[in-house]
């Protein structure tokens, strides 16, 4: 392995908002040789994505490069001509919001084929390459799937399509921004193996942005940690990364506390024999579950198992073929303030798409407050700040538009917006996929607190089993649109019965709390 050839060098890079303001990246300096993997970790909003983008010579609109240089394979990506030589050929990039990064008009197959054609010179077997790429990211490569468009696949599938496209042609420098954010543990593990295999031939390098310390630890040769735009630590994974799972409590957390509240009398979320379809393909088959008020139920399952579809059915965004779903209020009184707010609110998986690009965070938050809960403008302003605080965002964010937020910030704004609707039930579809463990934990703690104080009921769609272990009372495991297992979180995670569950738990970074028997 010839590790001496330098592929990437960043010197004193400083990025900041146009027209002044604290920089989002300060004096970043780093270097990377071929055959090496650089992990970039740090809290949400610390500047990881900004750094990743600058490696391609791109600065998000609203930001500007204030100083510093970037050199990739001896070229300056900020130079137009050089960028042209670099992008797509030398450097491949996978953005943080795969759903938003896929072209809605292009079929999956075309999308990947495009990437293949772009990077491979000769008349190679494009179809064959597309197939093998899709298979390598564990996606079906049949014609029907190839002919789907991005809005017809699940979040995790979209992410893998984007990953497949990024891997096409074997670029020398891979810049991957949260490549496994929406993937279940099994897939995340498989992707890790895929990447390891890719790196093995030695003349590639990769920059991995991730909030998942274990994932980074497993893949990266060097790691840098960012905080508030500053590189606060760099070195080997062991030196930089905290002993993540050493501190992560395994097993059931204190979620059970909420259950002590008299749940039955306050209603429950009940789903009866629910079936739903996309076009002709049925993706949910008779799902039934009950979530008592004030408790948290986790929904886990492999990517594409129907979790998002279930979530959408609960809030009426997806037509139900059969069965019912809804909030049964024990007291009979209408939930929420003015009564117009729906009892069940959804935090969507595609956080970028779910935010109106022209609406500031302030407007996004005050809309439900004034419109649904009938607050005055002043009250709403105060409440908006409070809710923003709940999800760990500073009030300065209020005036930003979605395009000016980091991925994790967007996700939290989405959550905050749902909370502003004062729901009885919050359906959270992968709300921590773009958050580092610390902030993710903070957000979930907030939810737990709300469960306790307000009796909020939470349906947590997630792929992060640590989270499940910590915050969920109950778990259902979906596979192929069917509930294959359900039960108390502790039991399911400790003694998974169904093979799918077993696999998920087995691949979890924390591992099964106890060895499955």
């Amino acid at each position: 392995m010839n590790a001496t050839e330098e592929l990437l060098r960043v010197t004193g890079l400083t990025l900041g908002p146009v027209g002044g303001g604290p920089p989002v990246l300060r004096e970043a300096t780093l270097a990377l040789g071929s055959g090496r993997v650089l992990g970039v970790v740090g809290r949400s909003g610390s500047g990881k994505s900004s750094l990743a983008l600058s490696l391609l010579g791109h600065v998000r609109p609203g930001l500007e490069r204030r100083s510093g240089t970037v050199e990739v394979a001896g070229l300056d990506p900020f130079d137009r001509a050089a960028a042209r030589r670099l992008r797509g050929r030398v450097v491949a990039y996978l953005g943080q919001d795969p759903a938003a990064c896929l072209n809605p008009a292009l079929r999956i197959g075309t999308q990947v084929a495009e990437a293949v054609r772009l990077r491979s010179s000769g008349r190679s077997d494009v179809a064959g390459q597309v197939r093998s790429l899709l298979e390598s990211v564990r996606l079906p490569a049949d014609r029907a799937f190839l002919r789907r468009r991005p809005h017809q696949v699940s979040g995790g599938q979209a992410q893998r399509v984007a990953l497949a496209a990024a891997l096409a042609g074997g670029p020398r420098l891979l810049v991957l921004d949260e490549p496994t954010g929406s993937l279940d543990t099994v897939l995340a593990h498989q992707m890790r193996e895929l990447l390891t295999a890719l790196m093995r031939d030695g003349d590639r390098a990769a920059v991995l942005v991730s909030h998942d310390p274990d994932w980074v630890a497993a893949l990266a040769d060097e790691v840098i940690r960012l905080r508030d735009g500053r590189v606060i630590a760099s070195g080997s994974p062991r030196a930089v990364l905290p002993k993540a799972h050493a501190t992560a409590p395994a097993g059931r957390g204190d979620g059970g506390v909420a259950r002590t509240a008299d749940a039955g009398s306050r209603g429950e979320l009940r789903v009866c024999d629910l079936s739903a379809a996309h076009g002709r393909g049925v993706v949910l088959h008779g799902v039934s579950l009950t979530v008592p008020a004030g408790t948290c139920m986790a929904v886990v399952g492999p990517s594409g198992s129907g979790k998002t579809t279930l979530a959408r059915c609960l809030v009426g965004l997806h037509r139900v073929v059969r069965g019912t779903a809804g909030w049964r209020d024990g007291s009979g009184g209408p939930p929420g303030g003015s009564g117009r707010a729906r009892a069940v609110q959804l935090v969507a998986q595609d956080s970028r798409g779910a935010l109106n690009p022209r609406e500031s965070v302030r407007t996004a938050l005050t809309r439900p407050l004034t419109g649904l809960r009938g607050m005055s403008a002043d009250e709403a302003a105060v409440e908006a700040r409070r809710i923003l605080g709940l999800v760990g965002l500073a009030p300065v964010m209020l005036s930003r538009r979605p395009g000016e937020l980091s991925g994790g910030e967007r996700q939290r704004v989405n959550l905050a917006r749902a909370l502003a609707g004062a729901p009885r039930v919050l359906v959270c579809d992968e709300i921590t996929s773009a958050l580092d463990p610390e902030i993710g934990a903070g957000v979930l703690e907030s939810l737990t607190a709300l469960r306790r104080s307000l009796g909020l009921t939470v349906l947590l769609v997630t792929h992060d089993l640590t989270e499940v272990a910590r915050y969920a009372d109950q778990v259902v495991v979906l596979d192929g649109g069917r509930v294959v297992e359900s039960g108390p979180a502790g039991r399911v995670l400790t003694w998974p019965r169904h093979p799918v569950t077993r696999e998920l738990v087995g691949r979890s970074p924390t591992g099964p709390a106890r060895d499955p028997v």
Partner: protein, 317 residues
Amino acid sequence: MSWAVFVGRRVVGAGVSLVLLSGVVFAATAVLPGDAVSAVAGIDASSVERARVRAALGLDRPVAERYARWALGAVRGDLGTGFVGRRPVVEVVGARLPNSLLLAGLTLALTVPLAVLLGLSAGLRAGGITDRLVSFAAQGAAGIPEFVSAALLIAVLSVWLELLPRVSLVPLGGTPLQAPAGLVLPVLTLTAVALATATRLIRVSVADVAASPYVETARLNGVRGPRLALRHVLPNAAGPAVQALTLITGVLVGGAVVVESVFDYPGIGRELQQAVAARDVPMVQGIATVLAAVMLLILLLGDICGRLLDPVGGDRR
């Protein structure tokens, strides 16, 4: 909704629209002042003669009956006979409509690629120098009424440089294609306006799409130039663009009357204008109905293209 169902429904819908429309056309001709009888019997005819003509034209029958007769004839391809010159309407339409379609077709053939090209090059780099140039030129061109641009083109290309004939004289018994020089000025005039309009509409939607995350991603992954424009931007910007082109086509087929009269081009628009002026009711009805049918067809095609190009709309809701 499957394709067959979609298209079938649209076709049936267009058919129903056409029936309704022909009724409206029939009623609308009532707005025309004056009496068909005057047109036929001569302006100073005696009342006896007028009554005779009225009966001969069947104008003494109730409107519903007249419409039924007319519609029955229309179904069999007979749109009646014009009052003036007593030529069968179908013959007139058959002689003139192809000419108008030719003009519209040539203009579109010129406009569509150019507008897409210009709209893309401007919209992809909104605010850039190309954008400013193209937008400004498009504004200018769109701002000049057809009759003015026609006059300008004539002054320069025909009177001053003597490159092109002043009028589009079609060889007798031939088609306009046999005297292609005569087509240049009308097509140029129409193109100026159509191109400007189309370019602006396409530019707007392209600029919208160009600012989206997926185009940004595509750019970052090295997609650029024609591939970016055609594969990534255009399909997403095409919906509104198709609407725009539909709109323009409609204007070109039925509304080219100014150009037709300035260049004396034998198109259907002028025939319609003359028929209205002469209160040749059957002619107005016939031409209007046929034009409506053509427009419906264009809208139908526009809808089909729109759906073909709309990745999401077909599935949700």
